[in-house]
């Protein structure tokens, strides 16, 4: 009964709503948050619904990928690059009503760095030595080594009220919307926050509706139950939306790369020549066409166009069956070899595995496809490195840095690359950083550390009545404050 009572209270609309308080937006998604905390396993769904909408950070990423000041109004860096002093924006309130101060920022940063944090940013913020709050509106961060990505990484650190007991089950952020109700398995509703420091959002109420089947999500958009779908996972799903007077389809940039990852610790994939042979034996363009039609792109490396150090390297290790055979012979495998390909059970991995199997058969490599669950992938492959080769989607931005870590699951160990990546992080300018990472990327591609099959497209489908949504997927977030509905 208590659940009913809660949701009754939750559906009372927010006081102080502006002109379009009646605008109620409905967003359809396949990614329900696991919980509300992006530092505690909230997952892709928490980032999608809450980042920028409910929670804000010191900095924000624009749709174009640039970093802007948000809760920080100013910052200075010491000449040695080791001390950052942030001035906080004044007059910012949490949804609970208390003003945001340096104590909250300090708490939010320490939360990420804590031993119990499951945040994926913990690693990239490891150089933070101390966080101090000399007065209510100043935060001083000291580093043990230079970090050119610090500001970028801080855009992912949500500022949470330090008095909030459990951020997994409740929120207290500073964003333009506050969480009204979360009916697990169905809907997450947010409403305009009257005390917001910035421009008031267009729609008074936004409801994220969650689906487990893409077909059900499509039906919801077709029948008008949702106004916009955050990301379409298959081109087949687009056919019903070809009526351009009713629907709009946008294709933006994505950071989701589909990899055939080798275990570089183990024969035969410890030999770069073998990895290059496998890469050359697979026709990436044909694979992309069969999965995504004319969408998405072959980029030939881990770096997508959204990263500043992007270069089109699709010409390296390009499709060439004869060259692949020659390289295999040179590496000591003239007749090929048998291999097991660990394949996550969810789409599109099994389809890709079949394609890879038939391509590699042409050069004598016999592939055994082993279908596994996400859980097994994470335990056996990611944590225990017990595999030969695997397929996996890598969704993170700026994740070339994983090739600099020999302890990462694929075990790529090239001291030169590790050094370039380490130096790029302590670079003094972004130009220097970009230059170093480009060099590292060339090395990684030269070694065929993995086979980067293709980059997913980012497709948003919306009712023609809706405007102002982002076409690009920036760190999985889906900002709704700029969306308007006629």
């Amino acid at each position: 009964m208590s659940v009913v009572m809660l949701s009754v209270a939750a559906c009372v609309s927010s006081p102080g709503g502006g002109a379009s308080a009646s605008c109620a937006l409905s967003v359809g998604s396949l990614y329900e948050p696991q919980n509300l905390d992006n530092a505690g396993g909230g997952g892709q769904g928490a980032a999608e619904a809450l980042a920028g909408n409910v929670y804000e950070a010191l900095f924000r990423l624009t749709e174009a990928g640039a970093v802007e000041k948000s809760l920080a109004s100013e910052y200075t860096v010491s000449p040695d690059g080791l001390t950052y002093t942030f001035a906080l924006r004044q007059g910012v309130r949490f949804h609970s009503g208390t003003p945001m101060t340096s104590a909250d920022v300090r708490h939010s940063l320490r939360r990420i760095l804590a031993g119990t944090s499951t945040s994926s940013r913990k690693n990239s913020l490891d150089m933070i030595k101390s966080v101090d709050a000399p007065d209510d509106h100043t935060v001083v961060v000291r580093l043990s080594s230079r970090s050119i990505s610090l500001i970028y990484n801080l855009s992912q650190v949500w500022i949470v009220n330090h008095t909030l007991a459990d951020p997994k089950t409740a929120e207290d952020g500073t964003g333009p919307y506050r969480l009204a109700s979360w009916k697990r398995g169905a809907t997450l509703t947010m409403e305009r926050f009257g005390g917001y420091w910035g421009a008031s959002p267009k729609c008074g109420q936004v409801t994220f509706r969650y689906y487990t089947e893409a077909a059900a999500l499509n039906n919801a958009l077709l029948s008008g139950a949702v106004d916009v779908v955050t990301s379409v996972q298959s081109p087949d799903a687009l056919a019903p939306f070809s009526d351009t007077s009713a629907f709009r389809i946008t294709e933006g940039t994505s950071t989701t790369k589909l990899l055939l990852a080798f275990n570089c610790r183990r024969a035969p994939f410890d030999k770069p020549l073998v990895r290059r042979a496998v890469s050359a034996a697979i026709d990436d363009a044909k694979l992309l066409r069969s999965i995504w039609g004319d969408r998405g792109m072959v980029i030939g490396s881990m770096v997508p166009p959204a990263d500043p150090w992007y270069e089109d390297l699709s010409g390296k290790n390009a499709y060439d069956v004869e060259a692949a055979k020659r390289m295999l012979a040179e590496a000591g495998y003239p007749g090929g070899f048998p291999m097991t390909l660990d394949t996550p059970q969810y789409d599109p991995h099994p389809t890709i595995a079949e394609f890879v199997k038939s391509e590699l058969a042409k050069v004598g490599i016999t592939v055994t496809i082993n279908i596994i669950s996400a859980d097994e992938w994470y335990s056996r492959i990611f944590q225990h490195h017990d595999f030969a080769a695997t397929l996996q989607e890598h969704v993170n931005d700026r994740d070339i840095r994983y090739y600099g870590d020999p302890g990462f699951y694929w075990g790529y160990d090239n001291p030169e690359v590790s050094d370039l990546i380490r130096r790029s992080e302590s670079a003094k300018t972004t130009r220097e950083q970009t230059e170093l990472l480009r060099r590292a990327n060339h090395e990684i591609v030269e070694d065929a550390a993995s086979d980067w099959l293709y980059l997913n497209p980012q497709i948003v489908v919306a009712s023609a009545r809706v405007t102002g949504y982002a076409a690009n997927a920036v760190q999985a977030q889906f900002p709704v404050y700029g969306i308007d509905k006629r």
Partner: protein, 321 residues
Amino acid sequence: MAAYLVRRAILLALSLAVSSVALFVLLRVLPGDPANALLDMGATPAQAAAARHELGTDLPPAQQFGGWLRDLARLDLGRSLVSSLPVASEIAGRLHVTVPLTVLAFLLAVLIAVPTGFLVALRRGTWYGTLLAGVSQLGLAVPVFWVGMLLVTVFALRLRWLPAGGFPAEDWAAPAAALTSLLLPVVTIALVMSASLTRYVHSAALDVLDSDYLRTARALGAPLRAALLRHGLRNAAAPVVPILAIELASTFLGAVVVENVFALPGLGSMLVRAFAQHDYPVIQGVLTLSTAAVLTIGFVADTAQRLIDPRLRRTATGTSA
């Protein structure tokens, strides 16, 4: 009857205890790590270890079992390892969907199957008796998701009479919206369920129609309808009731396919997700509850069968007294 009730209640409690312990052991024996659901590509081995420690899944199983028993003694089902929310309130929220969905679908299926089953039996040999039998045969062969998708295409996408799926955020505080969103799923389950039920009712009705007592009643001058209502229904009900119980029990969790097609936040989809994430407290909570529900339904069905058929009552009291 009182002795019978007490005996059944003790049996129910024992079965529940045994099944929960078996479940606890099975879940720990199966491979899988709940911490994985909380981690992503950026996580280090140290973070994985910290997550396991935080969840308590790094403790020896005996110690975990002790903690679980202590909680259970306080009627506390624990908290989800993934969402951190109390399992009991999570389940309660899902029951708002699952209970009405199951009960309404079941009632509708009975409303369809009983008259149809009798009609097919009475009209055997005529063309529409054969037609009805054929339709129910067809219903057995059609998968439930297909019926669901067909209904969505016609009533939600073409005619736009009903929503294609979802459940209102306001829950039952918006009763009309909640009911309309359950309508298509209820009809979907009821159609498929009534197909098999019709066949059982049909064969029970045939037995009754061919029985000596009905012939005697008619010979004594009772019209067929009166004879059927007075003697037939009750006799036909006896073999059908246990079947009804099984159908009701299987709908309770078996509705997961329909829940996915209609994006309903029911118990079935919750269980599937919890299994994928190895969310032990949630799995344990849902399965313990459904075991209790299934056992209770079985108990009610047995009791109902005894009330319908006095012969069962006589043998049971005879042996237990």
